[in-house]
């Protein structure tokens, strides 16, 4: 179960990062018009946070389910280090964006 959790979190972190950086088409919500659509870009007050989160959650759940079925044999320390590295990559990327603005 821990390996499946690690795989799921890795996929979540990777999908969340790629969805934003590669501008993948996701669910976008315009709170002014109260309209949801699928789009690559956002304009005005539209927001893609829901879509990015949805995409990453789907990727994480699917990967965890796949890992439960396939039962990967990677050593636990390697799997854990990979997962935490992907999470750290996300944090460093978003921290760099914050520091550029500040």
């Amino acid at each position: 179960m821990t390996r499946a959790a690690l795989a799921g979190i890795s996929a979540f972190a990777l999908a969340y990062l790629l969805a934003g950086t590669l501008q993948l088409p996701v669910l976008v919500y315009d709170p002014l018009a109260r309209v949801a659509s699928v789009s690559r870009t956002v304009s005005g007050v539209s927001m893609r946070y829901f879509g990015d989160l949805l995409l990453a959650s789907a990727a994480g759940l699917a990967t965890a389910a796949l890992a439960l079925r396939l039962r990967p044999r990677a050593p636990m320390p390697v799997a854990a280090a990979t997962t935490l590295s992907l999470v750290a990559l996300d944090v460093l990327y978003y921290l760099s964006r914050l520091l550029v603005t500040a």
Partner: protein
């Protein structure tokens, strides 16, 4: 429910998630150090994810109001750094959601010795992100509440 009531619920649920996540992390570390924590990990193995999911749903519900009433008329025009800080908090919250849920499920069902440190690492990282998100959330709300 009004936006302010939702913000209050988000804050209360956020602190619930913060403390449940921190408890889970503490028990996971103790377990990794060789002190049996099976009952505590089972208990916080459902409390922590339920609390984190509830506060995330509440946060998502008030996000449109934040966008329209706080970010667009204030932060985007006069404090773009605070807008970016809020975005950073949202990213930390998203990662914490995955980390706490993953660590909780693994902690409930995996007693293998080689899984203890990875679970402790996931849980501790998730708890640290929750703390950072809570502090940033309080700062942003103090700058401009809903």
């Amino acid at each position: 429910m009004s936006d302010r009531a939702l913000l209050l619920a988000h804050a209360v649920l956020g602190f619930g998630a913060l403390f449940a996540g921190t408890h889970h992390a503490a028990h996971a570390v103790l377990s990794a150090l060789g002190k049996p924590q099976t009952r505590a990990l089972r208990r916080f193995g459902w409390i922590a994810p339920v609390a984190v999911i509830a506060q995330a749903l509440c946060g998502l519900a008030i996000y449109p109001a934040y966008r329209l009433r706080v970010r667009a008329p204030d932060f985007d025009l006069y404090a773009p750094a605070v807008a970016q800080l809020f975005d950073f908090k949202e990213h930390l919250s998203a990662l914490a959601l995955a980390l706490v849920i993953g660590a909780s499920i693994a902690g409930r069902s995996d007693d293998a010795p080689d899984a203890r440190w990875p679970i402790a690492a996931l849980s501790s990282t998730g708890a640290a992100f929750l703390w950072a998100a809570a502090i940033i959330g309080l700062y942003v709300t103090a700058r401009h509440p809903l």
